[in-house]
Amino acid sequence: MRKKKIRFRNIGIHAILIFLALIVLVPFAYILLISFGKDILDITGYGDTGFSIGNYERLFSDTKYLYWLGNSLIISLVSMLISLIMVSVASNVFSKFKFAGREALFQTILLIQIFPLTLMLVSLFKIFAALELLNKLLGLVIIDSVIASAGLILVSKGYFDTIPYEIDEAAMIDGANRFQILVHITLPLVKPILGIVAIQSFVLTYNEYAIASMLITSGAEKMTVAVGLQSLIYGQFQQNWGMYCAGAALASLPIFILFYSFQKYFIGGLTEGGVKQ
């Protein structure tokens, strides 16, 4: 009797999950179809042109797609590493150190992010021109890792707070310094949030458009994927949706690979046993 009830409940849960998965999958499947030339709904306004891999071929032959992908991967990976370091150090300080102005500083970091980025572009450009970082991937790495870190400090500080301070104290008695505690004790305990920080900072950088399109002006080889793809649909009359969708579908592959390799951080890394409360 009880078994039956559980099985019934399981089916119910799976029904919900499958329904939600469909809502997610249908638009994505549609993008894939467009990339193969099957635009059943005529979103692109060019109609259904029959199944072909022409869009993918032209993506590689007519555009600098591989350059775009390479640039995006480089800046996304580097700024992912930088933001991982900045976020874990800053969250650790905010969470473990009791210092004057801690709350105020933390709130300031949140508040300054209220200002819409769209309106900051003009000023940002002036900074980059002054620092001579125009047309350099380094410039994008810096700004993207700052943006990602500023947002993600807020997220990860909350997770660092869930690690009991007793662990630190115990380690300190054993003679470990703050840095050792962070690297050897705290970081392994906060793996799940580090996984999220990594993916979110990667995705933010990877899909960032406004700043990249403004800073990179010297040629197609230097563009990122987001900017390059946008140029395919960035016309008043000629919009190449098929190629855009093909490019977007291909560009999402690295994120899947990254996500897949971070899976174990989401699943494993249980904090149980670290300390009994």
């Binding site: 999950l17 997610v24 993008i31 109609g47 009791k98 210092f99 801690r102 309106l119 960035y234």
Partner: protein, 775 residues
């Protein structure tokens, strides 16, 4: 200790050597930089020409592939004086108004000999206030596209517009390839394509003053001629010769032609490949003549070259520009721009010898278009030139298709409203604002203000310290010092890239920074703020309410659904959960632009996927994005759809930090799963995520992406009023940008910033006090 000193010295010497190596860099050779177009072949030809130029003069020219000509004005303004500055820029003539007024473009003077080699539109289009700023190279415009299987070109040439419309009406509906076919179909909302017809009946956009310049204070869209145009189109609509859906676009017109449902349309070369794909045998013909038998001129954009006024080598740059204007090179460029023998581009020459060349003459379509290009009307290139984009579409939509509920709208009133709206914007753009000198006293007050703030900070700091003993203070001081030292890099970076732009924006909001004053903007005090408070915002209350409802419901939905999904997934078997996670990650990782546009395609009232599905099941049309209430619901749904995965993965992470005994205790007390979810899981994760959620709320408050889904609509019948899904920030942003008044936009954003900041601070205070009580 010694090791550290050695290390520090080493570091300093490295830094110094880097700085010096930059200063002592050898003087660079002369290089002229050219920003080309997005067509690589064309740029390659330009490189060949550059090589020839280098061989002759020894001056190097480097040509840069660009993303789009649309970026050229913004990027030129940004880069004009940086190291990355271009010398020659390929640009659309309509964009040069702002640049010329602000002194970004070098004034040019061409020799008569060169002038005689080009059609006069190459020069008139690049003229602003009687000064020459560039030279045209190719034209983009439109003509009649006709289906050769149904109509011969003789039937539609040498007709006047009235005769042509009569012909189209008398044509009725014929059966072609088993499908009904009309003679003609047009999209009456698009003024770009309709302009020659409006002009034929006597309407116009901006009048021309006695010097031959555009006069933006003379708007001719509500005169008798414009009213005649409205009547004519309305009668054509009764014969089914216009797009029949309120939301129809030029894509629908093209599709009708491609599917052989219309024999003639007005279009350029932009969709030729689509027609070919569909197997249409088509050709181009000139537009019908005006009723007084003069040639009807289509609106056109001229692509050409301008020179950066801040160029280091203006003379050499001019020399290269003139070099490039030689007939043979123009020929090479045009051929490359149209992809040589494939002839698929839409680069129609303004160079007379290219016009007469075999390349153009041998292909009938190019020959016809090049002929049309001899009598074009370039769209106004004055800074006020693009105001019509903001209003005409909506005004004509109401006139021809009624308001949002389908009720007819008085067309005369609407035309008056249209021209008033345009005139108002023109006036706003040309307002001269008095410069305000900051008096010495002002600086004194600012200084006092900062001093008082510092004093308050120090006093509170000292007071707080008094509470503790001296040794505790010392520990605290040490911790503070170390903390700030460790945080220094992060804080400096955030300070540079967040704080400076905000302070700079506050400054800009007190200047007259606008498209007419991009360089010489001056301090005008609180003028912009005064404007905002005097003008107020029409529909502010409802728009504000909608913004708050939108942002908070998106946050509630994404947070709850995300947490629920996470709890459901956590209990699945690892392998099953993996598959689900891979699926649910999709909305997070795919660029939001494409997701929003896909959803728009799915939810569209006419031909959207959802309505097609409902239709198959026997239901009627649902106006998903065209009914104000449904549109709002759909917006919330789509944005939540995109945001949920992020919160799901966050919750997945935080679920692991919830001690198991909490659940056990609740289970022992006999709480059900749903109760446990709401009583334990949600509150714990909510507390941990509070800053993130506030951040998310702010992000949604400032969400510019909604525009891609609904463009702020559906709109009421008042021009310029906010649409049903207009968010506060997007609306005021566009309001200020309609008149290109960036200072005003900054002022709006500062006000909203202060408001949202206050809101977030209060929420955090409440959240924190609750949290502490809970402890």
């Amino acid at each position: 200790m010694r090791k550290k000193t050695v290390l520090a010295l080493l570091l300093i010497s490295i830094i110094l050597s880097i700085i010096f190596s930059n200063i002592v860099k050898a003087e660079q050779d002369k290089v002229i930089t050219v920003w080309g177009s997005e067509i690589t072949r064309e740029n390659d030809v330009m490189r060949e020409i550059a090589q020839e130029f280098e061989n002759e003069t020894g001056i190097r020219v480097s040509v840069i592939d660009r993303r789009s000509l649309f970026d050229a004005p913004r990027d030129l303004i940004n880069n004009a004086q940086t190291k990355e500055k271009p010398d020659i820029v390929m640009i659309q003539h309509a964009d040069i108004g702002d640049l010329a007024v602000n002194g970004f473009l070098l004034e040019l003077d061409f020799a008569e000999e060169l002038k005689s080699a080009f059609h006069e539109s190459a020069f008139t289009s690049f003229e602003v206030k009687d000064k020459q700023y560039g030279i045209g190279y190719s034209v983009e415009t439109y003509g009649l596209v006709y289906n050769r299987d149904v109509i011969s070109s003789e039937q539609i040439t040498n007709l006047t517009w009235d005769e042509f419309f009569d012909y189209a009406v008398n044509f009725g509906t014929v059966i072609h390839n088993g499908k009904p076919m009309k003679a003609f179909i047009l999209n009456p909302k698009n003024m770009y394509f309709m302009y020659p017809i409006i002009k034929n009946y006597g309407g116009y956009y901006y009048g021309i003053d006695e010097n031959g310049n555009y006069n933006p204070f003379d708007v001719g869209l509500n005169n008798e001629g414009s009213k005649l145009y409205i009547e004519k189109i309305k009668s054509l609509m009764n014969h089914g010769l216009a797009v029949n859906s309120r939301n129809g676009t030029d894509n629908d017109v093209s599709a009708a032609f491609a599917n052989q449902e219309a024999a003639v349309i007005i279009n350029g070369f932009w969709q030729n490949s689509f027609y070919k794909q569909k197997g249409v045998n088509f050709g181009f013909a000139p537009l019908p003549m005006n009723n007084d038998k003069t040639v009807s001129s289509p609106y056109a954009t001229v692509n050409g070259f301008v020179i950066n006024a801040h160029s280091d080598y203006p003379d050499e740059t001019k020399a290269f520009l003139e070099f490039m204007c030689k007939d043979e090179y123009q020929q090479m460029l045009i051929e490359a721009g149209n992809n040589y023998d494939k002839k698929v581009g839409s680069r129609f020459p303004v160079n007379l010898s290219v016009r007469e060349s075999e390349y153009i003459k041998s292909e009938e379509m190019y020959d016809v278009m090049a002929g049309i290009c001899e009598s074009i009307e370039p769209v106004p290139n004055i800074p006020e030139g693009d105001i019509w984009y903001n209003y005409t579409d909506k005004a004509y939509q109401s006139i021809f298709y009624g308001d949002i509920n389908g009720n007819p709208v008085n067309s005369d009133d609407m035309l008056d409203e249209l021209s008033t709206a345009i005139l108002n914007d023109v006036k706003k753009m040309n307002v001269k604002i008095e410069k305000v000198d900051i008096p010495f006293l002002g600086y004194f007050f600012i200084g006092c203000f900062i001093a008082v703030c510092l004093a308050i900070l120090i006093i509170t700091f000292v007071r707080r310290r008094r509470k503790f003993s001296i040794s505790a203070n010392r520990i605290m001081l040490k911790a503070t010092f170390i903390s700030y030292l460790v945080l220094l890099p992060v804080l400096v970076l955030i300070g540079i890239f967040y704080l400076f732009p905000i302070v700079h924006n506050i400054y800009l909001s007190m200047t007259d920074y606008s498209s007419l004053n991009l360089v010489d903007y001056v301090f005008i005090g609180g003028y912009n703020y005064k404007t905002i408070f005097i003008e107020g915002l029409s529909g502010f209350a409802s728009m504000f309410a909608w913004t708050v409802i939108f942002a908070s419901s998106v946050m509630v939905i994404t947070f709850l659904t995300g947490t629920m999904l996470a709890t459901l997934l956590e209990k699945r078997k690892a392998k099953v959960a993996k598959i689900y996670k891979m699926i649910f990650i999709l909305p997070w990782v795919i660029p939001s632009v494409i997701m929003l546009l896909t959803w728009q395609g799915i939810l569209a009232t006419d031909g959207g996927a959802l309505n097609n599905l409902l239709n198959m099941l026997g239901f009627g049309k649902v106006m998903w994005l065209d009914n104000p209430y449904l549109a709002r619901l759909c917006t919330i749904f789509v944005v939540s759809w995109m945001g949920t995965p992020y919160y799901m993965f966050l919750a997945l992470g935080f679920l692991k930090s919830i001690p198991k005994d909490y659940y056990e205790a609740a289970m022992i007390e006999g709480a059900g799963k749903i109760k446990v979810f709401f009583a334990i899981t949600v509150p714990i994760i909510f507390r941990a995520l509070l800053p993130t959620l506030i951040m998310g709320f702010i992000m949604q408050f400032n969400n510019f992406g909604v525009y891609l889904l609904t463009s702020g609509g559906p709109f009421g019948s008042t021009l310029g009023a906010p649409g049903a899904t207009d968010l506060l920030i997007t609306y005021v942003y566009n309001l200020a940008y309609n008149t290109k008044n960036y200072g005003l936009a900054a002022a709006y954003s500062v006000i909203i910033f202060l408001f949202v900041a206050a809101f977030s601070l209060i929420t955090m205070k409440i959240g924190n006090s609750r949290f502490n009580e809970g402890k």
